[in-house]
């Protein structure tokens, strides 16, 4: 089974919560546990933040596509912005903590698999996977 749900949102901070809530509702229906649902919600929020802050021009929407499979939940966030250098996302340095740059690190920490493609001037695609595990 593979089913798709797509939403397109204006690149404004007030719309990010819609993507987060949608992600948590779908994850809940799929049978993820509370901790996994929370991880998915945070990761989707961070990816959408990235689209709003660094990705799109004001008049563009960004797209969120949810793919529900038997054993996995795949979420893809696409913007049409200026892109960024994926390799230059450092891990947090506690000796010199920074106000920004934590988002991608958080996504990678919380999801099972993350693929990021960013093209200078053409936008960014963040694809993330969470696998349904058998509860012990």
């Amino acid at each position: 089974m593979s089913e798709n749900i797509s939403i397109s949102l204006p690149s404004k901070p007030e719309y990010v919560s819609i993507a987060r809530l949608t992600a948590s509702v779908i994850a809940n229906k799929m049978g993820f546990n509370v901790e996994d649902i929370e991880d998915i919600k945070v990761a989707v929020g961070e990816a959408c933040n990235n689209a709003v802050l660094h990705g799109n021009q004001d008049d563009n929407n960004f797209d969120v596509e949810f793919t529900v499979q038997d054993d996995s939940f795949i979420i893809e966030i696409r913007d049409k912005g200026k892109g960024f250098e994926v390799d230059k996302c450092p891990e947090p340095d506690l000796c010199a903590p920074k106000e920004n740059g934590l988002g991608i690190f958080i996504i990678k920490s919380l999801m099972d698999e993350v693929e990021i493609e960013s093209f200078c001037g053409k936008g960014t695609v963040i694809k993330m996977f969470k696998y349904l595990k058998e509860e012990v």
Partner: protein, 104 residues
């Protein structure tokens, strides 16, 4: 869900206490920054964030707190995080921020 912030100054502990209710995200974090910054202009002191009813915080909210901590550290002051829910503790732990804030 929006964010509601209840602030009070606790004289005997000489600190600002902010009760955070709801969600700190890309939309609400500017409000958090403004309220804390204005309070510090009024009176500079340690800050305690009561997170018992905080449901969600993201990197933009954590970024605001890091920025404020940098200012506070110049006068050797701190941010205390009290009663965080497990999802928020997890985020502080994976980012290592539980080591730069005081966890209560």
């Amino acid at each position: 869900m929006a964010l509601d912030i209840k602030k009070s100054f606790i004289d005997d502990k000489n600190l600002w206490n902010f009760e955070l209710i709801g969600e700190v995200d890309i939309y609400t974090s500017p409000e958090l920054k403004e309220i804390i910054s204005n309070s510090l202009k009024e009176k500079e002191s340690n800050i305690r964030l009561d997170c018992e009813r905080l449901e969600y915080i993201d990197s933009t909210g954590l970024g605001v707190l890091i920025g404020i901590l940098k200012t506070l550290k110049r006068s050797e002051r701190d941010i205390i995080i009290a009663n965080p829910k497990s999802n928020i503790s997890k985020l502080l732990k994976i980012t290592g921020l539980d080591k730069i804030f005081i966890m209560e």
